[in-house]
């Protein structure tokens, strides 16, 4: 059929697997530091960047809604959410948000400090070349992330506990032109994948 088709390079532009949630990542090198993995996730991770639009023509006679010249973005609501299966004090602090870690104890704080906001990354495999130093990846940086989903634990009888999370990216009044997310798409370079099992 004529229109039941896909692009011939489709397979080289697929994002694969659930990816990882990281506290730090350098897209220039693409190096994965496993000590930066916030926790093991289950069921994949959801990222959403929803623009809040303003239509400057909506209250003006004789201008239709959604005229492209008058449409603007006020801000983005940026969230990264999912379920973690592992937790340590650093992850618990991240899930609580305003909290202090002292040894094995994580104490919630009444005030939100600027230091409670930290970038969170989601990075996943991308393209048909996805091993080695030049592996492809899709990376999303959530700027100034803060846990807006609260600290949640659902234990399971005969199963592993679930720690649902939702991080929201935040603007800074220091530079309000910087939207709280960035997306990186890097295709893998040839020569970093193999075809044999050895």
């Amino acid at each position: 059929m004529k229109f039941t088709q896909v692009a011939e390079d489709m397979f080289s532009k697929l994002q694969l697997n659930a990816g990882v949630v990281l506290t730090d990542f350098n897209p220039a090198t693409g190096t994965l530091d496993k000590t930066k993995i916030l926790g093991a996730t289950s069921g994949g991770v959801n990222f959403t960047a929803q623009a809040e639009f303003r239509d400057d023509g909506e209250d003006i006679d004789n201008i239709p809604s959604n005229a492209l010249e008058l449409k603007h973005i006020d801000y983005y609501t940026v969230t990264l959410s999912g379920t973690m299966k592992t937790v340590d004090t650093a992850a618990a602090k991240a899930l609580i948000g305003a909290a202090t870690v002292s040894g094995e104890k994580v104490t919630p704080n009444a005030d939100v400090a600027s230091t409670d906001f930290a970038d969170i990354w989601w990075v996943g495999d991308y393209s048909d070349v996805n091993t080695g130093n030049s592996a492809g990846f899709v990376a999303i940086r959530v700027l100034n992330a803060y846990s807006t989903g609260g600290f949640q634990l659902q234990s399971n009888d005969n199963g592993k506990g679930d720690f649902a999370f939702e991080f929201t990216g935040h603007y800074s009044i220091e530079d309000m032109e910087i939207h709280p997310f960035e997306v990186y798409v890097k295709a893998g370079a040839n020569g970093s994948t193999g075809t044999t099992g050895a």
Binding site: V6, M10, L14, L16, T196, G197, A198
Partner: protein, 126 residues
């Protein structure tokens, strides 16, 4: 390289002969691997490909080690095999592997049944 050849090459990357189950020599010498070639299609999901690891030994360690080697090759996120028209995405099935008693053979024959799922991300030319 055809998808069939890509799978053959992958299966023969473990230091012992590997045969499609329909082409296994009757006098094949242990150890060896056999696999049931299963073909799939783009957007049709995963297909299961049975892989068997055969050893004739007193030790369970050797077949177990070979299964671990295959496991490491497939990896946590799967293994992509480039081929004509795209790639094959090999993944671990569940259960990943199990030991199977071989009836009618001497007890030294050890078999490991391994589940490999394959997603065909292939566009066939018209």
């Amino acid at each position: 390289m055809t998808p069939e050849a890509a799978i053959y090459q992958f299966m023969n990357g473990f230091g012992i002969p590997a045969y499609a189950s329909t082409s296994t020599p009757s006098d094949a010498e242990f150890p060896y691997i056999t696999y049931d070639l299963v073909l799939g299609e783009w957007m049709r999901g995963e297909v299961n490909m049975s892989v068997n690891v055969w050893y004739r030994t007193d030790s369970e360690a050797q077949p177990n080690a070979k299964v671990r080697e295959i496991s490491q090759a497939v990896g946590l996120g799967g293994k992509l095999l480039p081929c004509d028209g795209g790639v094959l995405w090999l993944k671990k099935g569940s259960p990943w592997a199990q030991a199977v008693r071989v009836e009618g053979e001497d007890e030294k024959v050890k078999r490991r049944y391994v589940n490999v799922n394959v997603e065909y991300l292939i566009i066939e030319g018209e």
